[in-house]
């Protein structure tokens, strides 16, 4: 990771602050932990052998499978498989990719996660957010 704040920051950072912040932070930030761990020179530390496969299903407006925030290693090949019970278009923002969905038929989006950031995968007609990809 190329962010390297001045070392004096370490001296400045009071113990109390660290305690307060990590107290708040410990609850719900697995993604951020993965973020700092996975950005080293060897990106193969996480389970991304040939490509990360993310599967999500929609039925009766309910989203199941890999919904929520899904961490992805930067640059890694990714395949998102979407299965919907109604016809719609799945749109991945930022990457600007579309997959036409037919009822019951799994549709795939395959791409390399080259753009860092947080992106929503959304059903165009229903405006349902299927998942958010966190690349970084």
């Amino acid at each position: 990771m190329s962010i390297r704040p001045a070392r004096l920051g370490a001296a400045l950072c009071g113990l109390a602050v660290a305690a307060v912040l990590s107290g708040c932070a410990g609850t719900e930030a697995p993604a951020a932990a993965a973020l700092s761990a996975s950005e080293g020179p060897s990106a193969s530390s996480t389970s991304a052998p040939a490509g990360q496969r993310i599967e999500v299903q929609v039925s009766g407006g309910r989203v199941t499978g890999d919904s929520g925030r899904v961490p992805v290693s930067p640059g890694a090949p990714v395949t998102v498989v979407v299965t919907s019970d109604v016809a719609d278009t799945a749109h991945l923002h930022g990457y600007d990719l579309d997959a036409e969905l037919s009822p019951g038929q799994p549709a795939e989006l395959t791409f390399d996660a080259t753009i860092p950031g947080v992106f929503e995968l959304e059903l165009h007609e229903a405006s349902t957010v299927l998942l958010t990809l966190q690349v970084g």
Binding site: P5, G9, C13, L21, A25, E28
Partner: protein, 434 residues
């Protein structure tokens, strides 16, 4: 259409790395005490008579009614074009210029423009030009006498309405929504300006007030002898008038930006905001504004009580110092939107009405480069902006305390400084995404 925060956009920022958030918070806290204990003990930022005067021809040009009306006419032409595109342009928000111009170029762009150039929207506000036209028909302004007492309070309403539209309303990016907002905004404020007179815009036009409040930290000011001057932005912020309602405006800005940050966290998206509807969004926005308001009022009043000063004037007196923290928040939240999705309007301007075969600047086929600014740079700018805003805020509050009591003790300022630290650590926490 997209349910992302802040109106439009194809992406949101990655959570801040934990280490960077901690360094930022630690630096903010330590610098606060350094400012309190080690900085000057008598006011020294410069009073209303400070600053280097601009050459008279420059001042005459800037103050000239003809120049201002010319600039207002240009702004009006752009506003009419954007409204026309919102009404008659492409239906797809991703291909329509209007939402991008309103939420990114204008609303976010107003921040750097006002910080660098001063209160720009006051100078080019196209509604002022329309008002002058209407005043020929209706000459009197029966409510003008009431404006000074209202101060900036009226501006909190349009600001809250706009921020609710930007951050809460699901259809915010639809061109029809943008058209309705722009036309409604113009009609309402022109009507109110007929009742209150042209100075209504300085009091109640949310965009003009936003620009003017931001410009308190610009290097351009007006000296007590009326000359336009270039001076230290901190001195500018110190001598800016203490207006009724300024605290409310600042609290609305800070609270809404905090809600923008909150709405991107996993906590919000899977917890209180999981429904992602108008009710949860409205409650979230109002809760964050109320939280900021309570913290600020309690902190500033407590500082006043310790210093033995009348407590009711305290929130107003110190509001100008919190502007710096609000600016830091705003830069942290909107920097990447401006740099990345801010490219979109320039592409769409090449064919505003989406007609086949039109490509005025040859850029219509371009694609936004979402890697133009790296994630590391964004994270550094975010932490840098929040910490810098905090340091400026605490410094201004320190100077303000010395101005209001010559022998102000550092300990009297502590409650307000603690609140500022809470704002900053909380802001970093939202960027970290707890």
């Amino acid at each position: 259409m997209t349910v992302l925060a802040h109106g439009v956009g194809s992406r949101t920022d990655l959570p801040l790395p934990l280490g960077l958030a901690l360094y930022g918070a630690g630096a903010a806290i330590l610098l606060s005490f350094a400012i309190l204990l080690l900085f000057w003990r008598t006011p020294r930022l410069g009073g209303p008579g400070s600053g280097a005067a601009l050459p008279l021809p420059v001042q005459r040009a800037v103050d000239s009614g003809r120049v201002r009306r010319g600039l207002q006419a240009v702004a009006l032409a752009v506003a009419v074009l954007v409204t026309a595109v919102a009404v008659a342009g492409p239906d797809d928000p991703d291909r329509n210029l209007a939402p991008w111009v309103l939420y990114v170029t204008f609303w976010v762009g107003l921040v750097p423009a006002s910080l660098l150039l001063g209160p720009v929207w006051r100078v080019v506000n196209p509604l002022r030009l329309l008002h002058r036209g209407l005043r020929v028909v209706l000459a009197s302004a029966p409510g003008a006498g009431r404006l000074p007492a209202l101060g900036l309070w009226p501006a909190t309403v349009p600001l809250l309405v706009f921020l609710w539209l930007e951050l809460v309303l699901p259809g915010r990016a639809e061109p029809s929504t943008v058209a309705a907002f722009l036309l409604g905004y113009a009609v309402v404020h022109l009507g109110l300006s007929l009742w209150f007179g042209e100075e209504w815009f300085a009091s109640g036009d949310g965009f003009e007030v936003y620009s003017t409040v931001l410009a308190r930290l610009s290097p351009w000011g007006r000296r007590d002898d009326g000359r336009l001057v270039l001076r230290n932005p901190l001195a500018n912020a110190t001598v800016a008038p203490v207006q009724p309602g300024l605290a409310a405006v600042v609290v609305v800005l800070l609270g809404s930006t905090a809600f923008d940050g909150l709405s991107r966290t996993v906590f919000w998206q899977t917890g209180p905001g999981a429904a992602n509807d108008v009710v949860s969004g409205t409650l979230g926005l109002l809760t964050m504004v109320a939280l900021v308001a309570v913290l600020y009022v309690v902190g500033s009043r407590l500082s006043g009580r310790l210093a033995g000063q009348p407590v009711h004037v305290q929130p107003r007196r110190y509001a100008g110092t919190v502007v710096a923290i609000a600016i830091g928040y705003t830069v942290a939240h909107y920097f990447s939107l401006m740099m990345l999705d801010g490219q979109t309007p320039w592409i769409l301007a090449s064919n505003p009405f989406g007609l086949a075969g039109v490509d005025l600047f040859g850029t219509y086929g371009n694609v936004v480069d979402l890697t133009a600014v790296s994630a590391d740079v964004i994270a550094l700018v975010q932490v840098g902006a929040v910490v810098a805003g905090h340091v400026v805020g605490v410094t201004l509050a320190h100077e303000r305390a010395l101005l209001s009591a010559r022998r102000a003790r550092a300990s009297d300022q502590l409650p307000l400084v603690v609140v500022m630290v809470l704002f900053t650590v909380g802001g970093l926490g939202l960027l970290f995404g707890f």
